[in-house]
Amino acid sequence: MTDLSKLTIAEARNGLRKGDYTASELTGQYLQAIEAAQALNAYSTSTPEIARAQAKAADARLARGDAPAMCGIPLGIKDLFCTKGVQTQAGSHILDGFKPEYESTITSQLFDAGAVMLGKLNMDEFAMGSSNETSYYGPVTSPWRRGNDDTPLTPGGSSGGSAAAVSADLCLGATGTDTGGSIRQPAAFTGIVGVKPTYGRCSRWGVVAFASSLDQAGPMVKTVRDSAIMLEAMAGHDPKDSTSANLPVPDFEAALTGDIRGKKIGIPKEYRLDGMPEEIEVLWREGAEMLKAAGAEIVDISLPHTKYALPAYYVIAPAEASSNLSRYDGVKYGHRAKIKPGEGITEMYERTRAEGFGDEVQRRVMIGAYVLSAGFYDAYYIRAQKVRTLIRQDFEKVFAEGIDQILTPATPSAAFGLGEMADADPIKMYLNDVFTVTVNLAGLPGVSVPAGLDAGGLPLGLQLIGQPWNEADMLNTAYALEQACGFAAKPDHWW
């Protein structure tokens, strides 16, 4: 049989419809590949029985000629999505053994469209991290290596399992979530495409909450076309999420004409950081030149409050997290600590959370409790929310002046080694999100496109930021950039 592992979603969709192979054959090959890739630790749970049953159902639909685009497509699902009857732990010890009695809206929509779930993907605990090292399941190892050096590298985070699985051909696409860069940074680190949609485009219902005003789910896939296909299946209004937008979902794939003549692409001067590696600088400049060669107009712009995005984020996200994570108390689900004679419910709560949460989650929950506490609320939280307004206004201003998309680097460096940041100040890790976090604060769509390799042979990505609700146009520019970059590198199969 032909090697089905290198397919894209678009190719598999066409092949399945033509009957070149069945969804069951496709799924079987991916289940084998997952079995053989334990060294990557990309999947926290595999669900072969569910996958085979879904593939069989997809084959029946394909035979009837009733097959939506995602029908029969094998996917990995980030462990943050609640999946009915299937272990969902958000990479945390505190949700030990949790099996939801319900299905998230996004996974429901994907399954209704005929998609196949291969398993749940490893991630940073509660999506808090940029390297997948905060996961209770242990870190994910990137399929990528620096040349012949076998140092294990991070796939990025928090959607590190999703990025590694797509990049290593352990699924055709994966769901991710992005609160400060958790789709786009790992996509850039592993040479894949990751889309963070406009806030409200995809339902948050049934997705374990981290910071509700910033969280947004999106697709992680091999090509821009695949991202358009998968995003369309994930998006849409959901009455169960009060911030879900009641807007029609456009045909994103139809928007991919590659024609970007006359588009205005902004280059924000504030994203040129001191000490940024020369190769990132070059990649960015070349990306702008490619878009110009394709007929776009390159415009220098200013987003003056960019510098304050990370500190504002690290007030707002922990504040929301401390509130959202208060539900993990050892009563309703998951882990409960043992108490000694004479101790009561407070000791039970406090010990459960000390045992159940890892260091980074504990740190953020405590920072959140502090910035929301009496006497500090105005000084930190309200101030950060005001700075957030200014950051959003920066974007509104340039979009009002006619800018269609903004081009930036996706990350300030290529992937780093697992453990390399272990002794670093947590703030050094936070800097990974310096180019992506503004997008979450402003609620905008963003996409990371693989654009080149660094000197060590590791992928680097460029980010396009779009106008709210205009993912279609943003993806079309991303498509033109993808065509021009011609990124085709794959990691060597060492695992």
């Binding site: 053994g97 009695e101 009060s242 502090y370 005001k386």
Partner: protein, 95 residues
């Protein structure tokens, strides 16, 4: 603003996370570092700026105040570490 050991103890309790006495000094240091990073926000002139409360400008949705879900206590309790007679069970809270 830096966090002393007393404040660290208070924050840990507010967050309902047990922290041993000997772990408080490093915790206070770590929290102080993060707060120092946030101090940059004090450079921004926020006079007359409204705090952002809605990510995309939209009117909050409303619905009729009626029961529209529920009636399945078994499902609600199915993941509980301790459930008895249709209730969540917890250590004694009143003497």
């Amino acid at each position: 603003m830096s966090i002393d050991i007393k404040t660290a103890r208070k924050v840990a309790h507010l967050a309902r996370i047990e922290v041993a006495e000997d772990a408080l000094p490093p915790l206070a240091d770590a929290l102080s570092n993060i707060l120092a990073f946030m101090e940059q926000l004090n450079e921004v002139d926020i006079t007359g700026v409204e705090p952002m409360t809605s990510v995309t400008p939209m009117a909050l949705k409303q619905r009729r105040d009626v029961v529209n879900d529920g009636g399945y206590p078994d499902k609600i309790l199915s993941n509980a570490p301790d459930a008895r007679e249709g209730f969540f069970a917890v250590p004694k809270v009143v003497e």
